[in-house]
Symmetry: C2
Protein backbone atom coordinates (compact mmCIF):
# COMPACT_ATOMS: atom_id res chain seq x y z
CA UNK A 1 0.00 0.00 0.00
CA UNK A 2 1.33 3.43 -0.92
CA UNK A 3 1.62 6.30 1.53
CA UNK A 4 -1.24 8.11 -0.20
CA UNK A 5 -3.59 5.22 0.38
CA UNK A 6 -2.35 4.78 3.91
CA UNK A 7 -3.00 8.41 4.71
CA UNK A 8 -6.49 8.40 3.21
CA UNK A 9 -7.40 5.12 4.87
CA UNK A 10 -6.16 6.25 8.24
CA UNK A 11 -8.14 9.44 8.06
CA UNK A 12 -11.25 7.61 6.98
CA UNK A 13 -10.82 5.31 9.93
CA UNK A 14 -10.30 8.31 12.16
CA UNK A 15 -13.63 9.82 11.22
CA UNK A 16 -15.44 6.55 11.70
CA UNK A 17 -14.02 6.32 15.18
CA UNK A 18 -14.84 9.91 16.06
CA UNK A 19 -18.45 9.46 14.99
CA UNK A 20 -18.63 6.16 16.84
CA UNK A 21 -17.16 7.65 19.98
CA UNK A 22 -19.21 10.84 20.03
CA UNK A 23 -22.51 9.13 19.37
CA UNK A 24 -23.37 7.93 22.89
CA UNK A 25 -22.65 11.28 24.55
CA UNK A 26 -24.57 13.09 21.85
CA UNK A 27 -27.52 10.78 22.34
CA UNK A 28 -27.32 11.25 26.07
CA UNK A 29 -27.27 15.05 26.17
CA UNK A 30 -29.44 15.48 23.07
CA UNK A 31 -32.01 12.77 23.58
CA UNK A 32 -34.64 12.77 20.87
CA UNK A 33 -32.49 14.69 18.41
CA UNK A 34 -30.70 12.81 15.66
CA UNK A 35 -27.16 13.73 14.53
CA UNK A 36 -28.48 14.84 11.15
CA UNK A 37 -31.01 17.13 12.82
CA UNK A 38 -28.39 18.70 15.06
CA UNK A 39 -25.99 19.07 12.18
CA UNK A 40 -28.70 20.84 10.22
CA UNK A 41 -29.47 23.17 13.11
CA UNK A 42 -25.79 23.97 13.42
CA UNK A 43 -25.54 24.91 9.76
CA UNK A 44 -28.62 27.10 9.81
CA UNK A 45 -27.31 29.05 12.77
CA UNK A 46 -23.88 29.53 11.26
CA UNK A 47 -24.99 30.52 7.78
CA UNK A 48 -27.24 33.31 6.62
CA UNK A 49 -30.24 32.75 4.37
CA UNK A 50 -30.03 28.99 4.30
CA UNK A 51 -32.50 27.17 2.09
CA UNK A 52 -33.04 23.53 1.12
CA UNK A 53 -30.72 23.78 -1.86
CA UNK A 54 -27.85 25.25 0.10
CA UNK A 55 -28.22 22.59 2.76
CA UNK A 56 -28.18 19.86 0.11
CA UNK A 57 -25.02 21.21 -1.48
CA UNK A 58 -23.22 21.63 1.81
CA UNK A 59 -24.08 18.18 3.10
CA UNK A 60 -23.67 16.44 -0.24
CA UNK A 61 -27.21 15.17 0.06
CA UNK A 62 -30.28 15.46 -2.15
CA UNK A 63 -32.73 18.33 -1.95
CA UNK A 64 -35.41 15.75 -1.24
CA UNK A 65 -33.59 14.57 1.86
CA UNK A 66 -33.13 18.11 3.16
CA UNK A 67 -36.71 18.99 2.40
CA UNK A 68 -37.89 16.16 4.61
CA UNK A 69 -35.40 16.96 7.33
CA UNK A 70 -36.32 20.64 7.55
CA UNK A 71 -40.00 19.76 7.57
CA UNK A 72 -39.38 17.55 10.56
CA UNK A 73 -37.43 20.27 12.33
CA UNK A 74 -40.27 22.71 11.76
CA UNK A 75 -42.74 20.19 13.14
CA UNK A 76 -40.55 19.84 16.22
CA UNK A 77 -40.48 23.60 16.59
CA UNK A 78 -36.71 23.90 16.26
CA UNK A 79 -36.62 26.01 13.13
CA UNK A 80 -39.01 28.24 11.23
CA UNK A 81 -39.07 29.39 7.64
CA UNK A 82 -39.39 32.81 6.09
CA UNK A 83 -39.39 34.33 2.65
CA UNK A 84 -38.27 37.56 1.13
CA UNK A 85 -41.03 39.93 0.00
CA UNK A 86 -39.91 39.90 -3.64
CA UNK A 87 -39.39 36.16 -4.01
CA UNK A 88 -42.15 33.59 -3.79
CA UNK A 89 -39.97 30.61 -4.64
CA UNK A 90 -37.10 30.48 -2.22
CA UNK A 91 -37.73 29.52 1.40
CA UNK A 92 -35.16 30.29 4.08
CA UNK A 93 -34.74 28.93 7.57
CA UNK A 94 -33.81 30.33 10.95
CA UNK A 95 -33.67 28.83 14.43
CA UNK A 96 -36.43 29.25 16.96
CA UNK A 97 -35.57 29.85 20.61
CA UNK A 98 -35.94 26.13 21.22
CA UNK A 99 -33.62 25.47 18.31
CA UNK A 100 -31.03 27.75 19.82
CA UNK A 101 -31.10 25.72 23.02
CA UNK A 102 -30.18 22.63 21.03
CA UNK A 103 -27.53 24.58 19.17
CA UNK A 104 -25.89 25.69 22.38
CA UNK A 105 -25.86 22.22 23.89
CA UNK A 106 -24.22 20.94 20.76
CA UNK A 107 -21.57 23.64 20.85
CA UNK A 108 -20.81 22.75 24.42
CA UNK A 109 -20.46 19.06 23.58
CA UNK A 110 -18.25 19.97 20.68
CA UNK A 111 -15.89 21.76 23.04
CA UNK A 112 -15.82 18.68 25.24
CA UNK A 113 -14.79 16.53 22.30
CA UNK A 114 -12.02 18.95 21.39
CA UNK A 115 -10.96 18.82 25.01
CA UNK A 116 -10.92 15.03 24.97
CA UNK A 117 -8.49 15.03 22.03
CA UNK A 118 -6.45 17.98 23.24
CA UNK A 119 -3.57 15.72 24.20
CA UNK A 120 -3.09 14.77 20.57
CA UNK A 121 -3.25 18.27 19.24
CA UNK A 122 -0.89 19.62 21.85
CA UNK A 123 1.86 17.43 20.49
CA UNK A 124 1.48 19.00 17.07
CA UNK A 125 3.70 21.96 16.34
CA UNK A 126 2.32 25.09 14.77
CA UNK A 127 4.47 24.24 11.77
CA UNK A 128 2.90 20.81 11.32
CA UNK A 129 -0.53 22.26 11.72
CA UNK A 130 -0.10 24.79 9.00
CA UNK A 131 1.49 22.21 6.77
CA UNK A 132 -1.49 19.90 7.12
CA UNK A 133 -3.93 22.74 6.61
CA UNK A 134 -2.15 23.78 3.44
CA UNK A 135 -2.25 20.22 2.18
CA UNK A 136 -5.92 19.66 2.84
CA UNK A 137 -6.85 23.03 1.37
CA UNK A 138 -4.83 22.32 -1.74
CA UNK A 139 -6.46 18.94 -2.05
CA UNK A 140 -9.90 20.48 -1.64
CA UNK A 141 -9.22 22.99 -4.36
CA UNK A 142 -7.99 20.26 -6.64
CA UNK A 143 -11.20 18.30 -6.09
CA UNK A 144 -13.33 21.37 -6.60
CA UNK A 145 -11.69 21.79 -9.97
CA UNK A 146 -12.27 18.13 -10.81
CA UNK A 147 -15.91 18.35 -9.77
CA UNK A 148 -16.33 21.39 -11.96
CA UNK A 149 -14.62 19.60 -14.82
CA UNK A 150 -17.05 16.71 -14.48
CA UNK A 151 -19.99 19.08 -14.25
CA UNK A 152 -21.56 17.30 -11.31
CA UNK A 153 -24.71 18.74 -9.79
CA UNK A 154 -26.66 18.13 -6.64
CA UNK A 155 -29.60 15.93 -7.41
Amino acid sequence: MTKEEQLIMNFRDLFNKIAWLNKPKMEDRLKGYKPSEVHCIEFIEKNRETNVTKLAESFYMTRGAMSKLTKKLIKKGLIENYQKPNNKKEIYFRLTDQGKVIYNIHEELHKQFIERDKAVFEQVTEEQFDSMLRFVEKYNKHLDAEIKKQGLTTN
Copy 2:
Protein backbone atom coordinates in the same frame (compact mmCIF):
# COMPACT_ATOMS: atom_id res chain seq x y z
CA MET B 1 -12.95 28.54 14.58
CA THR B 2 -9.79 26.92 15.92
CA LYS B 3 -7.24 25.23 13.72
CA GLU B 4 -8.26 21.85 15.09
CA GLU B 5 -11.82 22.35 13.95
CA GLN B 6 -10.68 23.76 10.65
CA LEU B 7 -8.53 20.75 9.99
CA ILE B 8 -11.22 18.26 10.89
CA MET B 9 -13.86 20.10 8.90
CA ASN B 10 -11.66 20.37 5.83
CA PHE B 11 -10.90 16.69 5.92
CA ARG B 12 -14.54 15.80 6.33
CA ASP B 13 -15.34 17.94 3.35
CA LEU B 14 -12.52 16.28 1.45
CA PHE B 15 -13.98 12.84 1.93
CA ASN B 16 -17.44 13.97 0.94
CA LYS B 17 -16.02 15.32 -2.27
CA ILE B 18 -13.97 12.24 -3.01
CA ALA B 19 -17.00 9.99 -2.58
CA TRP B 20 -19.10 12.35 -4.66
CA LEU B 21 -16.53 12.49 -7.42
CA ASN B 22 -15.74 8.77 -7.57
CA LYS B 23 -19.33 7.66 -7.57
CA PRO B 24 -20.20 8.14 -11.24
CA LYS B 25 -17.11 6.32 -12.54
CA MET B 26 -17.63 3.53 -10.06
CA GLU B 27 -21.21 3.15 -11.17
CA ASP B 28 -20.12 3.17 -14.78
CA ARG B 29 -17.44 0.48 -14.59
CA LEU B 30 -19.16 -1.51 -11.87
CA LYS B 31 -22.76 -1.33 -12.97
CA GLY B 32 -25.03 -3.35 -10.76
CA TYR B 33 -22.64 -3.38 -7.84
CA LYS B 34 -23.12 -0.93 -5.00
CA PRO B 35 -20.21 0.79 -3.24
CA SER B 36 -20.94 -1.11 -0.04
CA GLU B 37 -20.83 -4.42 -1.92
CA VAL B 38 -17.54 -3.59 -3.59
CA HIS B 39 -16.10 -2.34 -0.33
CA CYS B 40 -17.08 -5.60 1.30
CA ILE B 41 -15.50 -7.64 -1.49
CA GLU B 42 -12.32 -5.63 -1.14
CA PHE B 43 -12.11 -6.33 2.57
CA ILE B 44 -12.73 -10.05 2.20
CA GLU B 45 -9.96 -10.36 -0.36
CA LYS B 46 -7.49 -8.40 1.71
CA ASN B 47 -8.15 -10.07 5.05
CA ARG B 48 -7.99 -13.70 6.04
CA GLU B 49 -10.84 -15.51 7.75
CA THR B 50 -13.34 -12.68 7.56
CA ASN B 51 -16.70 -13.25 9.19
CA VAL B 52 -19.76 -11.09 9.79
CA THR B 53 -18.49 -9.81 13.11
CA LYS B 54 -15.12 -8.75 11.75
CA LEU B 55 -16.78 -6.94 8.87
CA ALA B 56 -19.10 -5.12 11.25
CA GLU B 57 -16.21 -3.98 13.44
CA SER B 58 -14.10 -2.82 10.52
CA PHE B 59 -16.88 -0.88 8.84
CA TYR B 60 -18.35 0.44 12.08
CA MET B 61 -21.67 -1.08 11.13
CA THR B 62 -24.00 -3.55 12.81
CA ARG B 63 -23.70 -7.29 12.45
CA GLY B 64 -27.23 -7.29 11.10
CA ALA B 65 -26.25 -5.03 8.24
CA MET B 66 -23.26 -7.16 7.32
CA SER B 67 -25.27 -10.33 7.59
CA LYS B 68 -27.70 -9.03 5.00
CA LEU B 69 -24.96 -7.68 2.78
CA THR B 70 -22.98 -10.93 2.70
CA LYS B 71 -26.15 -12.89 2.04
CA LYS B 72 -26.77 -10.70 -0.97
CA LEU B 73 -23.21 -11.17 -2.21
CA ILE B 74 -23.59 -14.93 -1.89
CA LYS B 75 -26.84 -14.80 -3.86
CA LYS B 76 -25.05 -12.82 -6.56
CA GLY B 77 -22.30 -15.44 -6.62
CA LEU B 78 -19.53 -13.03 -5.66
CA ILE B 79 -18.51 -14.64 -2.38
CA GLU B 80 -18.94 -18.02 -0.72
CA ASN B 81 -18.77 -19.08 2.90
CA TYR B 82 -16.87 -21.83 4.65
CA GLN B 83 -16.39 -23.09 8.18
CA LYS B 84 -13.60 -24.69 10.11
CA PRO B 85 -14.06 -28.37 11.01
CA ASN B 86 -13.91 -27.76 14.76
CA ASN B 87 -16.22 -24.72 14.89
CA LYS B 88 -19.89 -24.88 14.03
CA LYS B 89 -20.61 -21.26 14.96
CA GLU B 90 -18.29 -19.01 13.00
CA ILE B 91 -18.81 -18.61 9.26
CA TYR B 92 -16.03 -17.21 7.08
CA PHE B 93 -16.10 -15.73 3.60
CA ARG B 94 -13.91 -15.91 0.53
CA LEU B 95 -14.29 -14.53 -2.99
CA THR B 96 -15.51 -16.63 -5.89
CA ASP B 97 -13.86 -16.24 -9.31
CA GLN B 98 -16.62 -13.82 -10.25
CA GLY B 99 -15.94 -11.88 -7.07
CA LYS B 100 -12.29 -11.62 -7.99
CA VAL B 101 -13.21 -10.04 -11.30
CA ILE B 102 -15.06 -7.30 -9.45
CA TYR B 103 -12.18 -6.94 -7.03
CA ASN B 104 -9.72 -6.41 -9.87
CA ILE B 105 -11.86 -3.83 -11.61
CA HIS B 106 -12.11 -1.93 -8.35
CA GLU B 107 -8.38 -2.02 -7.82
CA GLU B 108 -7.88 -0.65 -11.29
CA LEU B 109 -10.33 2.19 -10.67
CA HIS B 110 -8.63 2.90 -7.39
CA LYS B 111 -5.35 3.41 -9.21
CA GLN B 112 -7.07 5.79 -11.59
CA PHE B 113 -8.33 7.88 -8.69
CA ILE B 114 -4.86 8.01 -7.17
CA GLU B 115 -3.60 9.07 -10.58
CA ARG B 116 -6.22 11.82 -10.78
CA ASP B 117 -5.00 13.29 -7.50
CA LYS B 118 -1.31 12.68 -8.14
CA ALA B 119 -0.70 16.34 -8.80
CA VAL B 120 -1.60 17.14 -5.21
CA PHE B 121 0.49 14.43 -3.67
CA GLU B 122 3.50 15.24 -5.79
CA GLN B 123 3.72 18.64 -4.15
CA VAL B 124 3.98 17.03 -0.75
CA THR B 125 7.48 16.38 0.51
CA GLU B 126 8.41 13.07 2.05
CA GLU B 127 8.87 14.96 5.28
CA GLN B 128 5.33 16.34 5.25
CA PHE B 129 3.94 12.94 4.38
CA ASP B 130 5.57 11.23 7.31
CA SER B 131 4.55 14.06 9.57
CA MET B 132 0.90 13.68 8.61
CA LEU B 133 1.05 9.93 8.91
CA ARG B 134 2.51 10.19 12.37
CA PHE B 135 -0.22 12.59 13.39
CA VAL B 136 -3.09 10.50 12.10
CA GLU B 137 -1.64 7.34 13.62
CA LYS B 138 -1.22 9.04 16.95
CA TYR B 139 -4.77 10.33 16.78
CA ASN B 140 -6.07 6.89 15.90
CA LYS B 141 -4.28 5.35 18.86
CA HIS B 142 -5.68 8.02 21.13
CA LEU B 143 -9.19 7.25 19.92
CA ASP B 144 -8.67 3.51 20.27
CA ALA B 145 -7.77 4.12 23.88
CA GLU B 146 -10.85 6.30 24.37
CA ILE B 147 -13.08 3.70 22.77
CA LYS B 148 -11.63 1.06 25.04
CA LYS B 149 -12.14 3.33 28.03
CA GLN B 150 -15.80 3.76 27.12
CA GLY B 151 -16.22 0.05 26.60
CA LEU B 152 -18.08 0.43 23.34
CA THR B 153 -19.11 -2.68 21.48
CA THR B 154 -20.44 -3.44 18.03
CA ASN B 155 -24.15 -3.93 18.18
